[in-house]
């Protein structure tokens, strides 16, 4: 929990004929972080595997054929794990064969369904246009005109004037039959000899003609009635086809989902092979894997390759590239379910490097503690918990944030009991600890003590990191052991003064002497490191170029550290400040509620104000408190020990699938 998962580097050598089976196992395994072969010595020497572009294209084509089928059948594919490894070279034939079979079975029905839908669309569009015309307009009579031509159509409302102007030199009649937003439906008459001029003008006016078939006759009402009966027949056909489509959907849903998953998997495997190396007839795969899974992976690879795969394990500390910092070991977080959502917040700050403390658990606990202190209220905590639960159950993508919100709600409610506050009402519950507004000084002291505690924890974690990463010179610096000792002594005396109101003169003298010595150590921490650890001689150290400048730099660093320690501790007063502002907001809400309660229907207004006030406090204060807590965590706590610069573990077979799912 306090360390990321222990990883080992594996190198797998697989004969060419087993590469597909081996890659399939790795893809299914989902806990291998591949190392790009082109970034290794072998890759630089040109031993890089070639990718089969034609096969990749084939899979792209297949996927582009499967997707429309899924869409037209309304199937939402699931990304469940495949029962067996995918071998791209073989699978393409099986997938294509099955796809052709499915297309053959469902193609006709889907085409018919599409055609009927199209005809229904056209008929409806026609009816919509006809409904704009006067019901008694007789098309039979219009078609019997001898000397004039006519047309009916839609034109943009602003275009009628332009059409009239363009026809101003010929005999014409433009009759406006109706209007819909932005459009006018018109009936245009003109003499047959002038009709070419009309065609030019109507073309220019972008007239959208209402076309009737040659055998159309009767009034508009009669035509609409005819179309309605046609529509009824088409709807029946559609219903029958829809039932067939539903049946097909049931029959092929699973098949199509599996075909899609296999295609995506095969494509991933082919893409991953670009990261592999190749020497003669063997592929080389290199990557990081959790140590606990090594045996299982070895067994599975041995099974699928008939014992022809060679797998070699190397501990990171034995790798020269790792020791020299050329290669980064990825970080695989390893936290319990309730803590793991906070990994996102840690990652926002940075990814810890392999070997340093993985601080998510400290982050999570202190975050919840600080949040609860600032937002302590039983009712509001309950609301946060419920909101988190809803997100957790309903919005899968934000499940992690749902968990965080539930935990924040729990801590908020717990502190609500300690403060005796339910939706700001302090008369319902007794305060198990104290009421913030009545004990301001005490609250400030508590937050200072807590701040000192969190900073101390940060310093301890810093020692551990320094020891683990062998940064021994940092132990003597202001940010290291020397600085921490000075801070603890000063903080201890400060605490004693806060609790008892006095400090013995002897203690002050001792602090003075200790401070003098520790400040000296901090200023001289680099020379001391050389003297004690590297065993350089004092003359050698003093004669070294830049010795004085280095000392000056250390003095400034020490001053900076002292100011920073003080500011960081004082910064925690904000916890009390925001808890008080939370309580003050409640006072404001209840004051407004009291004022409105004296008006007409006062009781109702009182509770409306209280409810709205609570909602505003939850939204506004919740946001502010979250930001302040994250700020304290990042700057005051993480700033003390977090080194970062690590690389996130990216399991082969998961990232691509995720993006594919997002796309579809």
């Amino acid at each position: 929990m306090f360390k990321s998962e222990k990883l080992v580097r594996i190198t797998i050598q697989v004969p060419e004929e087993f590469i597909s089976a081996a890659t399939g196992v790795l893809a299914r395994f989902k806990l291998l972080h591949l190392i790009r072969i082109d970034q290794t010595h072998l890759g630089r020497l040109g031993y890089v595997a070639e990718s089969d572009d034609r096969l990749t294209e084939d899979y792209e084509r297949v996927l582009s054929e499967i997707q429309p089928l899924l869409d037209s059948l309304g199937i939402c594919p699931d990304d469940s794990a495949l029962p067996e490894p995918v071998i791209p070279e073989k699978e393409i034939f099986r997938i294509t064969e099955r796809l052709v079979e499915i297309q053959g079975t469902i193609g006709t029905i889907l085409r018919d369904f599409g055609a009927v839908e199209q005809r229904i669309g056209h008929t409806r569009a026609m009816m919509e246009k006809l409904e704009l015309l006067p019901a008694d307009l007789d098309l039979t009579r219009l078609s019997q005109c001898t000397f004039v031509n006519w047309t009916i159509g839609l034109i943009s409302s602003g275009g009628v004037d332009r059409l009239e102007e363009s026809l101003s030199r010929v005999h014409h009649a433009v009759v406006e039959l109706g209007h819909i937003p932005d459009w006018t439906i018109i009936l245009v008459f003109g003499l047959k000899p002038d009709w070419p001029t009309f065609e030019q003008a109507l073309k220019g006016a972008l007239l959208e003609p209402v076309r009737f078939s040659d055998d159309t006759s009767g009034t508009v009402a009669e035509i609409i009635s005819e179309l309605k009966s046609q529509l009824a027949v088409l709807s029946d056909q559609r219903q029958a086809l829809f039932e067939q489509r539903t049946d097909i959907q049931r029959r092929f849903e699973q098949d199509l989902s599996i075909l899609r998953s296999k295609t995506i998997s095969a494509r991933q495997i082919l893409a991953a092979r670009r990261l592999f190396g190749k020497v003669d007839h063997s592929f080389l795969i290199s990557g990081w894997i959790p140590e606990r899974l090594f045996d299982t992976l070895s067994q599975e690879l041995a099974t699928v390759t008939g014992g022809n795969a060679l797998i070699e394990k190397v501990n990171p500390e034995d790798l020269r590239e790792v020791r020299e910092g050329i290669v980064n070991i990825p970080i695989l977080f390893n936290n319990p379910m309730l803590i793991s959502p906070f990994e996102k917040l840690t990652s926002l700050y940075g990814t810890p490097s392999y070997g340093e403390i993985e601080p998510t658990v400290f982050f999570a606990l202190s975050f919840l503690l600080l949040f609860g202190m600032m937002f302590g209220d039983v009712g509001q905590g309950g609301v946060l918990f419920l909101a988190g639960y809803l997100i957790f159950r309903r919005i899968y993508r934000y499940m992690d944030y749902g968990v965080i919100l539930m935990e924040c709600g729990f801590f908020s409610a717990a502190f609500g009991f300690l403060y005796g506050s339910v939706f700001g009402l302090e008369t319902l519950l007794p305060a198990l600890w104290f009421r913030p507004m009545e004990n301001i000084t005490y609250f400030v002291k508590v937050t200072l003590v807590m701040g000192a505690g969190l900073l101390s924890l940060g310093m301890i974690l810093n020692f551990i990191n320094a020891l683990r990463l062998m940064e021994y010179d940092k132990l003597f610096s202001g940010g290291g052991l020397a600085g921490a000792m000075l801070y603890w002594m000063t903080a201890g005396l400060g605490m004693k003064y806060m609790l008892t109101g006095r400090v013995a003169p002897g203690e002050l003298t001792a602090l003075g002497w200790a401070a003098g010595i520790l400040l000296g150590v901090m200023v001289l921490h680099r020379p001391i490191y050389r003297l004690v650890i590297r065993r350089d001689s004092p003359v050698q150290i003093i004669r070294q170029t830049g010795f004085v400048a280095e000392l000056m730099e250390s003095v400034i660093e020490v001053l900076d550290d002292i100011i920073r320690f003080t500011a960081n501790t004082v910064s925690f007063i904000r916890v009390a400040a925001f808890a008080l502002s939370h309580a003050a907001l409640f006072i404001a809400v209840f004051s407004v509620a009291d004022i409105v309660s004296h008006e007409k229907s006062g009781a109702f207004s009182y509770w409306i104000v209280v409810v709205i006030g609570n909602i505003v406090i939850i939204l506004l204060e919740g946001l502010v408190v979250s930001i302040q807590t994250i700020r304290l965590e990042y700057y005051e706590f993480y700033g003390k020990f977090f080194r970062g610069g690590g690389e996130r573990f990216k399991p082969f077979g998961e990232a691509d699938r995720g993006s594919e799912t997002g796309k579809t």
Partner: protein, 360 residues
Amino acid sequence: MILRLFRYAFTQSKTRAMKSRLLDGNDWHCLLRMRNLEDVFRYLSATDYGPFLSGLSPTGSDARAISLSLHDSLFKNAVRLSKSLTQNRAQVVYRLLARYEAENIKTLLRGIWQAMPETTIRPLLYRLETLSRLPIDALLKTRQIPDAIDLLQKTDFHASLVHALAQFRTQNRLFPLEIAVDLAAFRLLTDQIKTLRGIDRKQTARLIGLFVDGVNLSWLIRFRQIYGLSPEEIINYSLPEGCHITLRDIGALARAADLPLFLSTLPQPYRNALGHVQHWSRIQPVFQTWLVAGLYRVFYKDPFHLGLPVSCILLKEMEVKALDGLISAVGAGMPFERISQVWQGGWMQAHDNHYSRKAA
């Protein structure tokens, strides 16, 4: 007035700052004497256009790439200015540039119509960024015109395009769709101006009206002289809301038999301004001179209204178009005597008039 002063104090100072960065008469004097593209590039790199041309090479870039980079500067200026305006006033600025969104739609439709690959179409599009809501990536993957129009459902151009689809199918050419998009872009602008009130509406409508007159004249000449369309068709391809040219005038101009009759049919003040023109091709540059002078005049009067930023953007746009033309001419190897002759009296003269008045 006091309210307007507060509302436009920042905008007008920002607009004036922007106007001061337009090329002046001296710049044009030098630019019109450049003999090759490298010189034009070098000169422009020391102006407001420098950052936009930095990624291009004077010899290896095609005219379209240069044109797009010059337009980037216009779009950036427009976005900056719009940030100092309230929402519905900023919308006028956005709608003013909706013509470029329309241009992008036309380019995309042409690409789809000619089955061009995505890689060929994309570099031809104006980079409107936040000014555009077009689903470019999806449109580039479309292979059918009706599908492309479906994708534009959430844009203001959809209804016009759907309406023009019938004519597109009848004529089997893109022209009806293109003209529908152009008309829609101007309609959006004029509709937006109608949401303004008082001096904002009056001044903006007047400036846009002048601009629309210019577009109508340009289209009239292009459709009758280049495309040989019938007057009945041309009249329908005109924009409403012009300042001086009415629909009746457009009808008469479309039917005018020759240039002298065309010029004598023009309404005032254009009859005086353009009366001396000897050739159809000169009408546009001379009109532009007249318009530029009009746009500069806005800066000498009450500056606390939307007309000021609109005027500045139109000036910038005309400058970009002029530069675009100049670069194309120089790139095509047109001799500088000929370039000076074409530009002289147009863009140059407008600047000289403005700056000599400013000096006085």
